[in-house]
Symmetry: C3
Subunit: 226 residues, 3 copies
């Protein structure tokens, strides 16, 4: 199978396997003529370009790289959220949110990444490894952003969260190392590099490099403790 | 379906899909008259109250929020551990542990959280996101505790672990930010707030706030390295 | 069932459930006379020896401990990579990589650990909990290594990665606490202990103990913020 037919099949599976049968069949047909197919094709190409561990082969990405399923299911779930105004099959925004969350839930099971369907994410988005990544409801993310595993775009409050803009805004061409946490309604400027395991709670200007300085104490030789 | 019928169905699925057929059918019937249904109803309500990203809708929680499955499967697995004394169907505590771990394993697959069935957890417990959360065997956790994703209640030793009390005790109404690690047989006092990514290895008195101070070096502009 | 028959069944499932039917049946038969069965038996015994939370019972490990599936699927996927030279059923190294990644993908879904099939891992390898663990393509790991959950052996670059040796080399008998990150083509000497949450980017000599010193600010009592 070609990469584009694998993608079309994966997008339809995301709908059919997540939703009740009747609405699933309607949407699986409609999504074939939506913008989602072009979006996931651009995402898959970005994965193939950037990940040497897959032999730079988009077929491997679509068939066997679980973190790609996170992005694919996000594209589908986000598309479902926009349907109520024109689609009589979805009775209300409340139903659309439930259907979107059901697709998100399947994507999370397949990928171990949790991307809220209301987040806004630009083109050619890559999540590598993808275990524990979280992208909150009010995130806005630019084009060509790369996240290693465990990257969290969260809110700075825990509970008592409001429904206002409480998650980060990310520019274009930003790279995030593994386990980075970005919390609150802050902005990470375009073309920045955020090193592994940084916790960022203030704005970062464009073209910045942020690196964690941690302290470690090394005692050698290591004697086993009683 | 009502939320309570969705919950009853989910609790029975946890038994039927995890265990051998014969014991599964017996326990799926018995659990309907157990305290587990009230426990998971209180948990689901706590989720709906605290998570704005789900529209504060308990139906969404039960159907589509994977981290709720971690708590639900814990409630079921913990209940199974208590059965051997009165249930001739379970021949021994060794079998009960295996059955409980099989339920735990399904809950972990569905949620990406690892809660040992022997842990003791109070009412209205919430895990948000839930990827990578670990709750060790000898933890004791109070009521109304909230954990964001990746929170670990572990032991301070690695291997060579003993079977004594080696995991934390958590009071009531404690909130844990994402990726917090609490290690060893220590106590976190009630009404405390532990900020994201803190590593806690000593007792924390009640009503404390613990925040991580990390150092980061920002170099701008970011020049690509050779 | 005995532990060894459970293991044989699990190894065959890893092949049959991951691969196309025809190649799956051929390899599921061949793997029964391969070294993989001895390898996973040694791994399972190491788990049973080291994990008190499972009652030191290898049956529990194979049936109900999801992180063991990460190691088992790695053993199978790594074996598949070595087949092309002698197996006419696998037409090319490109196919072997795809088949190996498909097995890796299933192992990741079942365990939440991401182990590249090209990594080289010694005997009696244990991953505990296993949510978010990553072992990169060019890692070399000795015998009797123990990793708690979330341990990452990654590269120090993000994208723009080359295909050369860019991941760590780990000696024998090394223990890693939860959430440790080891980045780049560095060496961790044998018999070392790397404490929870350390980030290691330089060589560590044998028999070292590395511990993270983090700073935390505690304010008590905790007043709720406006």
């Amino acid at each position: 199978m070609t990469v584009s037919s694998l993608l079309e099949s994966a997008v339809q599976d995301a709908v059919l396997e997540s939703l009740p049968r009747d609405i699933g069949h309607i949407l699986a047909e409609q999504i074939r003529s939506s913008s989602v197919l072009d979006e996931v094709a651009a995402d898959a190409q970005a994965y193939a370009d950037r990940d040497p561990a897959c032999g730079h082969d988009a077929r491997n990405i679509v068939v066997a790289i679980t973190s790609f399923q996170a992005v694919l299911h996000y594209r589908v779930a986000h598309w479902v959220l926009g349907l109520p105004e024109t689609h009589p099959e979805i009775a209300s925004a409340r139903d659309a949110l439930l259907f979107a969350l059901m697709i998100t839930s399947r994507g999370k099971l397949l990928s171990h990444s949790d991307i809220h369907p209301k987040a806004v994410i630009g083109s050619s988005f890559v999540i590598d490894h993808g275990i524990g990544n979280v992208i909150g409801e009010t995130c806005q993310i630019g084009d060509n952003v790369y996240c290693n595993g465990g990257v969290i775009f969260g809110s700075s409050r825990i509970f008592g969260n409001q429904t206002n803009k409480r998650h980060p805004t990310i520019g274009d061409n930003v790279q995030f190392g593994g386990m980075v946490g970005v919390y609150g309604n802050i902005t990470i400027g375009s073309d920045s590099f955020i090193g592994a395991r940084c916790t960022v709670t203030r704005d970062v200007s464009p073209s910045s490099k942020v690196v964690l300085i941690s302290e470690q104490q090394v005692t050698r030789p290591y004697e086993l403790e009683a």
